[in-house]
Each structure stands twice: as C-alpha cells, then as structure tokens.
C-alpha cells in the first residue's frame, strides 16, 4: 500500500489511467444506455418507465460507493497518515454527491408514474436524502479546512462517522416496511429479467469507470493546486528576502 502513497508515483500512473478510465467509461455507459433506451422491451407493468432503472441503479450504487470510498480513505489517513488518502477522500466527495442527487431525482421521476407520488418519507428515500446532506456537509467541511491549510483530520472523522448511514440505506427496505421495493439483486440471484439485467450491469460498470476517472482527475487537480501554492509561497519568500536586502542597503 505504501507504494501508492507516493504522490510522484501516483501522478505517473494517474496520467495515463485517467483518460483510459474516462474514455472507456464514456463508451461503455453510452452503449449501455443506448441499448437500454432503444433495444430493451418495456416492462409488463411499468412500460417504458422501467428504462430509468439504467441510470437510477448505477447512481444509487455510486452514491453509496462514493461514501464507502471516503470512509476507507479516512481510515487510511487517520491510522497510516498517507499523504494521498485525504486528497482521495476530498476528490470523491463531489462526484459522490452528484450521483446521490441523480439517484434521488431519477427515483422521484420514476415514482410519480409508478407509485403515484414524487416523494414519500419512507426509510429508503429518507436515508438516501440524509446521504446527500452528509455529502454537502463533508464538501463544506473539507474544502474550508483545505482553504485554511489545516489538517484534514476532522473531515476524516466526519467521513468515518457518516459511513454508518451506508448500511442503513442498504438495509432500510429489509428492516422497515417501505414504499420502495426490497432489493432485486442479492448475492447470487436476481429477480430482474436478464433482458434488463445485462444492460443494467453494463451501465453500472460504465458509470463506475467514469466515476473513477473523475476522481483521479480531481486528485491530480488538487495535487497540482498544492504544488502551485508551494511554488508561489517560495517565490513570495524570495521576493520578501530581496526586498529586505534592498531596504537594508537603502538605510545603510
């Protein structure tokens, strides 16, 4: 694990991995959605509304997966103090929040024709909304800490504590009666017909590749920012020193 904690080595790998993930993610997501929107037959009850599944499910998975990644990075940061872990957590927060928001929006659009309502306060919907608000809190906290140049340890603790919501979202439809249906895909079996399942899996992998690419790109940006700031600071110090020397010369 220490091998990847070296920023220089990370940047060398990320340089070619970022475009690879972004391009393959775009191609796979594009073809999966094209397949799902045009080639798949309508559902027996929902009709064409079922197609929103191909965006909603990957978005839900990445919204929850994003926070899981933040939690793992936070743990690594707190215990092993890896320099890249905090940056990885910060870079994951915005795409994670975007996917959580997409999940809520598409779910709401699906819910109107299917259930007959845009929104209900059941366990699944409420805990997913809480996740979106946790993302907002995390983004505000980590970016303000980064601006102040303070240690990101507080953000890491927030990331770990917030992770408790992820299994709650996952189990909410099992523990409590909810309007949202119970899980369709459990380990080893699926109650989704293969006609829908394959494009769904392709879209999920495609969106995940895109997510990875965006996170790497954001990590590179944050590292570049840190480098540029350090360089500016050195320059400013040098200028200060020169000014001091000059003013010393003037008074002498």
């Amino acid at each position: 694990m220490h091998i990847y904690a070296n920023p220089a080595r990370f940047l060398r790998i990320a340089k070619w991995l970022t475009p690879l993930l972004l391009v393959s993610g775009l191609v796979l997501t594009g073809s999966a959605l094209l397949w799902g929107f045009t080639q798949v037959p309508p559902d027996r009850l929902m009709g064409d509304t079922v197609r929103i599944l191909f965006v909603h499910v990957p978005a839900a998975w990445l919204g929850m997966g994003g926070w899981t990644a933040i939690a793992v990075a936070s743990l690594v940061e707190l215990v092993w103090r890896h320099p890249l872990a905090a940056i990885a957590a910060r870079a994951t927060a915005v795409p994670g929040a975007v996917f959580a928001a997409i999940c809520l929006a598409t779910g709401s659009i699906w819910g109107r024709p299917t259930w007959g309502t845009w929104w209900v306060w059941d366990g699944r919907l409420t805990s997913m909304l809480v996740l979106l608000f946790l993302y907002f809190g995390y983004i505000a906290l980590s970016s303000s800490l980064a601006r102040e140049g303070q240690a990101s340890r507080i953000a890491a603790i927030f990331g770990l504590v917030g992770a408790i919501n992820v299994p709650i979202i996952n189990r909410s439809v099992v523990w409590w009666n909810s309007l949202h249906q119970p899980p369709s895909i459990t380990i080893g079996q699926s109650s989704i017909d293969p006609v829908f399942l394959w494009p769904l899996l392709a879209a999920t992998i495609g969106f995940s590749l895109l997510f990875g690419g965006v996170v790497l790109a954001r990590m590179r940006t944050i590292l570049a920012d840190i480098q540029a700031e350090a360089r500016l600071r050195r320059k400013a110090q040098k200028a200060d020193m020169n000014a001091d020397l000059q003013s010393d010369g003037a008074t002498a």
């Binding site: 037959p41 027996r44 215990v79 007959g116 059941d122 770990l160 408790i164 709650i168 119970p182 369709s184």
Partner: protein
C-alpha cells in the same frame, strides 16, 4: 519501548474501538425505531392492535385477487388488502394509480370507520422487486427459457 505498540497500531486500535461503539449505538437506535420507522401498517398489525376509528394511519399490503369492485358512481372502488394473515376491506374514491391491479402491492392513507372498513383518501401503488418484459408474463421458467432461446436463435439467422 515499554508499551510494545507502534503509534499507528495504537491509532488503529482506538479507531476500531470507537467504530464498534458507534455501530453498537446505531444498532440499538435502529432496533428501537423498528416500529416507528416503518412506512405503513400491515393488516396483521391492524388486527393485533386495532386503531381508533378516525385515527389517521397508513395501511399497506396486497390487493386480494378478485376483490376489486367498482361502485355505481364509477369512481369509488372497494377491495380487500391482505398480508396472508389478516384482511382489511378498503374503500377509495378517486383516480387509481396505473399499477393498481389485483395481486399487487398497495399503500393507502386513511382511517378506519366505525364498521371496520378502511376509508382511504390516497392510494399509492407499491412496485415489487420483479422486473420482466410483457411478452414473458405468465410463463413458467421453462417456457421463458425456450422463448428466449427462440429469440436469440431467430435474431442470429
């Protein structure tokens, strides 16, 4: 080196203890919330703890097959919600959601009247976890497999 623990192992141990405490607290909270956080009551709950007539509750369950009847006014429907243990008659006046069919799930907002009928002001259709195309509905698994094989071999020709 009297403690024999590296600082990073100390931090790891501390974090594991803190996380275990957090998970324990959450599980306790979830356990305490298990009734309150449910979105609706099932007919068995209504049978075990009959709510006061007029008290607003949410009732959820399956629409019993063959139980939907439409009144003479054309907009009032009566049906039975069951969960395999108990049955509750429901009456509703208004537009039905598209997915409201016999044998599927429903969640109704409303109140019990004095005769033990649940009067709903709002109906939500509950979708189950099954997704399948229209052509395959009502087929057995073997028939489905045959149909799919036909489709696949047909398209490759």
């Amino acid at each position: 080196m009297t403690t024999g623990l590296k600082p990073k192992h100390q931090r790891l141990a501390l974090l594991v203890v803190a996380l275990l405490a957090l998970i324990g607290a959450t599980l306790l909270a979830v356990y305490a919330l298990r009734d309150q956080a449910s979105y609706f009551y099932v007919p068995a709950d209504v049978a075990a703890n009959p709510p006061e007539p007029g008290q607003a509750i949410r009732l959820g369950g399956m629409v019993e097959t063959g139980s939907i009847t439409t009144q003479a006014d054309g907009v009032t429907v009566q049906f039975i919600v069951e969960d395999g243990e108990a049955r509750v008659p429901v009456s509703y006046t208004g537009i039905l959601p598209d997915l409201f069919v016999e044998g599927s799930g429903v969640v109704a907002d409303g109140r019990m009247d004095a005769n033990g009928t649940f009067v709903a002001d709002n109906l939500l259709a509950k979708h189950d976890e099954n997704y399948m195309p229209r052509e395959l509905e009502g087929m057995t698994t073997a028939e489905m497999r045959e149909e799919m094989q036909d489709t696949v071999s047909g398209s490759s020709q």
